[in-house]
């Protein structure tokens, strides 16, 4: 009896081990990419270049444009596409295992800050001294490059983005029906939301509209933009000659109170702290919600979807909402969107670096810059009076053009002969105009070029404390004292050091 029992147990353990073997072992970075090199000598041999880039579309992109780039630059590209949502994690994991490709994109300023320690440790090529040797790269703006610099040295090339794209997209047909104009103050904005809620703007006889649609993002969602209306500084602000984080300013608390009111009165989707971007946009496109705050340029992708469901709908954009004592303001990014770094693990020699830089330089030539950004003439766009009209086929665009736009180097300000768009949709044209208009009202981040060791080490984790407290305040879980307690916790867990270090860095840079 005992023996059979023992063997049963053994059998089970074995079975479990096998099961565990089948189940475990997911994740982990996919195979190491072979890096190209050694093709220095022969010039007609295509040079192999490895690239890692973030992918903004759900599908794997077609390689049509990739092939054209290869042909024109005499290279053999190997592009590793990583979904945008997990891009930073992938970069960190590849970095840790020494498998970053030769051309490594970082998706935004925050990602670059995370890499600062590694950059300082000499993990990436300092490219500043080389830039002048290249006809196109030398046109990159020194003041923007300075914002990407670490200890004053330049390691990255950048892709331009408009300094501030933030604004409102709203259902103009709903507003018209209720006799509302475009909101220009916070009170008018609130009034619009309230009317959208109460007066049945979609005319279906039911009180079922959600006025404002927001998502789980305090920065690129609605919160930060609204906080700008209230006059909150951008990440860091100066008070009594000292730099302090935005959440220690009363305007930040005002913004939270405003959102708390919206949430209590049902003027915003109740689940916004857990709503994804897709769901947020769906609320607008399906006609359940009427107001969207974010990048105004999104209107070009949102409008066709809205019209598909409701041909009578009409979208409009608006930027200037006046709330703070200093009039309208809007937060801005430090002049660059994504940046590209050149890891020493993948680029062994200076020779090789020059090859890679020469490839990147070619990407910035007018011909390739336009190809990357606008696609192929006749297929993805047509030209009219020298201006680009992009295809109406958004699926084709998303599959063949949009993914490659991340490879853009520089942008309209630095590439001569970069084509301008002619917007067939008036609302898109208006959005672009308002984005330009935003440039006059920017709230800049005074700490963009500053450095703090503690921030590099645990800034992200500490920021979670504030993020949690902000959401909990807006949902009524905690009051002002509770929020203050979170700020105190932040200060005690390293925040005070971050403040001191940023201020020291600020003093040093003056």
């Amino acid at each position: 009896m005992k023996k059979t029992k023992a063997s049963t147990v053994l059998a089970i353990v074995t079975a479990l081990a096998v099961l565990a073997g089948c189940g475990g072992g997911g994740g982990s970075a996919s195979g190491t990419k072979q890096q190209g090199s050694g093709a220095q000598g022969e010039s007609d041999q295509p040079v192999a270049i490895t690239i890692m880039a973030n992918l903004h579309t759900p599908e794997v992109p077609s390689d049509k444009i990739e092939k054209l780039i290869e042909e024109k630059t005499n290279t053999k590209l190997e592009i590793q596409w990583v979904p945008d949502g997990t891009y930073d994690e992938k970069v960190n994991a590849s970095f840790a295992t020494g498998t970053l490709p030769q051309v490594t994109l970082l998706k935004n300023a925050a990602s670059l800050i995370n890499m600062r320690d590694a950059i300082r440790n000499g993990q990436f090529w300092e490219i500043g001294p080389y830039l002048q040797d290249y006809p196109n790269l030398s046109k990159l703006k020194p003041e923007v490059l300075k914002n990407t610099a670490v200890d004053g040295k330049i390691y990255a090339i950048y892709r331009e983005v408009p300094l501030s794209r933030q604004g409102i997209i709203y259902r103009k047909d709903w507003a018209d029906k209720l006799g509302l104009g475009a909101p220009t103050t916070i009170d008018e904005f609130y009034e619009m939301l309230k009317q959208f809620k109460e007066n049945d703007p979609d005319g279906n006889g039911q009180n079922d509209t959600i006025p404002l649609t927001d998502r789980n993002d305090l920065v690129y969602g609605a919160f930060k933009t609204v906080s700008s209306w209230f006059g909150t500084p951008n990440n860091w602000g100066e008070k009594d000659g000292q730099l302090l984080p935005e959440f220690m300013f009363p305007e930040y608390v005002e913004t939270m109170k405003f959102f708390k009111k919206l949430h209590q009165e049902g003027l915003i989707n109740q689940d916004f702290p857990v709503t994804s971007k897709t769901d947020q946009q769906n609320l607008l496109t399906t006609g359940k919600a009427g107001v969207y705050i974010g990048a105004m340029g999104d209107v070009s992708s949102l409008e066709p979807k809205v019209l598909e469901i409701n041909p009578d709908a009409e979208l409009d954009v608006q930027n200037k909402i006046d709330g703070g004592p200093n009039g309208f303001g809007v937060w801005s990014v430090p002049g660059y969107g994504s940046v590209t770094l050149f890891p020493k693990t993948a680029i062994k020699t200076e020779e090789e670096l020059k090859q890679v830089l020469s490839f990147v330089d070619q990407l910035m030539s007018p011909e390739l810059a336009n190809l990357i950004y606008w696609g192929i003439e006749g297929e993805h766009h047509t030209l009219e009076d020298g201006q680009v009209i992009t295809t109406e086929d958004t699926k084709l665009w998303d599959r063949e053009v949009k993914p490659y736009q991340v490879l853009q180097v520089g942008g309209p300000l630095t590439v001569e002969g970069f084509l301008e768009a002619k917007h067939t949709r008036p609302v898109k044209a208006k959005a672009e105009a308002l984005i330009v208009e935003n440039n006059d009202f920017l709230i800049e981040d005074p700490a963009a070029a500053l450095d703090s060791k503690t921030y590099n080490e645990k800034g992200v984790q500490l920021q979670e404390l504030i993020k949690d407290a902000t959401y909990r305040f807006m949902l009524g879980d905690i009051d002002e004292d509770g929020f203050q307690a979170a700020v105190d916790n932040w200060l005690n867990s390293g925040g005070q050091q971050i403040i001191d270090e940023f201020n020291a860095s600020n003093e040093a840079s003056k």
């Binding site: 147990v9 960190n92 970095f95 109740q270 693990t345 645990k458 949690d468 916790n489």
Partner: protein
């Protein structure tokens, strides 16, 4: 256990000549090489994927820098462990992990046993197979899908559950963003996904029970419940104990994906566990040494729990797992 297996096993003459045991063992290995070959893949699997990677744990005691590698990164002793223990979140994370584990043990662990007992009593083979397959299926769905479905159902904005509650005149409940509802939601999802799959081993054990025992008890006039109580359950007791010990070993393996997907700002105080914390600290911020230290600490707790459970099982007269 292994010793008894060996001595009652294949080659009794080994025991007769103890001085020549070594060469005897070699001989035995050569003789049974085909059987040893069968172990080889499993042995290699554990060696390559489990034991060799363990050496990576040394970076928990270093300030690991990717470019310096394991060999050249500076040693810092227990610095990262000190940081972990002084982290304000530490006790929250520890207690969250333990509470979720206890709830799992209390509410999830018995479910497959009950389910298996019920399935075992089903007489129509076709029906039994059908039900069995149906309850397995959720196991093959990824957490992403399960959590997404729950999101759609539990949403405050037109989630079907909340609409039903509202229709019946109750207050809507913010399941997704409430610290009170996180744990029940977690455990229910675990049960929904894993209960059916968990029955497999119990059913196999039940199939091995000698039908003669049932016959005899029926002759003695035992009811169905009596049979379950006095025959089925005692027969699978050792299986239950083994699974329980293994489960306890997984104390801190609560399913990173699952918890991470459910985690948000509103329920973090009850939902942050070691795995999610390692992810934020390690991968999102690139603090490899620190997150290794956290993972190491977690594993040590797991080991202690297994040894404790095993010791208790042996005290109670069961086999244990080693």
């Amino acid at each position: 256990m292994s010793e008894t297996a060996v001595s009652t096993g294949m080659n009794p003459d080994v025991d007769v000549k103890p001085p020549k045991q070594d060469s005897g063992r070699m001989k035995r290995i050569i003789k049974n090489r085909a059987i040893y070959m069968m172990i080889l893949p499993g042995f290699l699997y554990f060696l390559i994927f489990k034991y060799i990677p363990m050496s990576g744990l040394v970076i928990a005691f270093q300030d690991y820098q990717a470019f310096l590698g394991v060999m050249n990164s500076p040693w810092v002793g227990f610095k990262h462990f000190e940081r972990l223990f002084t982290e304000p979140m530490f006790f929250t994370i520890l207690s969250n992990t333990l509470i979720l584990f206890m709830m799992n043990l209390l509410f999830y662990f018995p479910v497959p046993i009950i389910l298996a007992l019920m399935l075992n009593e089903v007489r129509r083979e076709v029906f039994k197979r059908f039900i069995q397959t149906m309850v397995y299926i959720p196991h093959f769905m990824s957490w992403v899908i399960i959590v997404s479905i729950s999101f759609v159902m539990l949403s405050m904005d037109r989630g079907i559950i909340n609409e039903l509650l509202a229709m019946m005149g109750f207050e809507k409940i913010n399941f997704l963003m409430s610290s009170d509802w996180f744990r029940p939601m977690y455990v229910l999802q675990v049960i929904w996904r894993e209960a059916g799959w968990g029955t497999i081993i119990y059913l196999a054990a039940m199939a091995a029970i000698d039908p003669g025992l049932y016959e005899a008890s029926r002759i003695d006039g035992a009811s169905r419940f009596r049979q379950i109580w006095h025959i089925t359950l005692p027969s699978i007791r050792s299986v239950i104990v083994v699974l329980l010990i293994l489960k306890i070993g997984d104390v801190l393996e609560l399913g990173f994906e699952h918890v991470y997907l459910l985690l948000n700002s509103m329920n973090r105080e009850v939902a942050e566990i070691f795995d999610t914390y390692v992810y934020t600290a390690g991968l999102r911020q690139g603090q490899f040494s620190f997150s290794t230290a956290v993972g190491f600490f977690k594993s040590i707790i797991g080991l202690i729990m297994v040894m404790l459970a095993n010791w208790l099982a042996k005290k109670a007269g069961e086999e244990g797992i080693y």
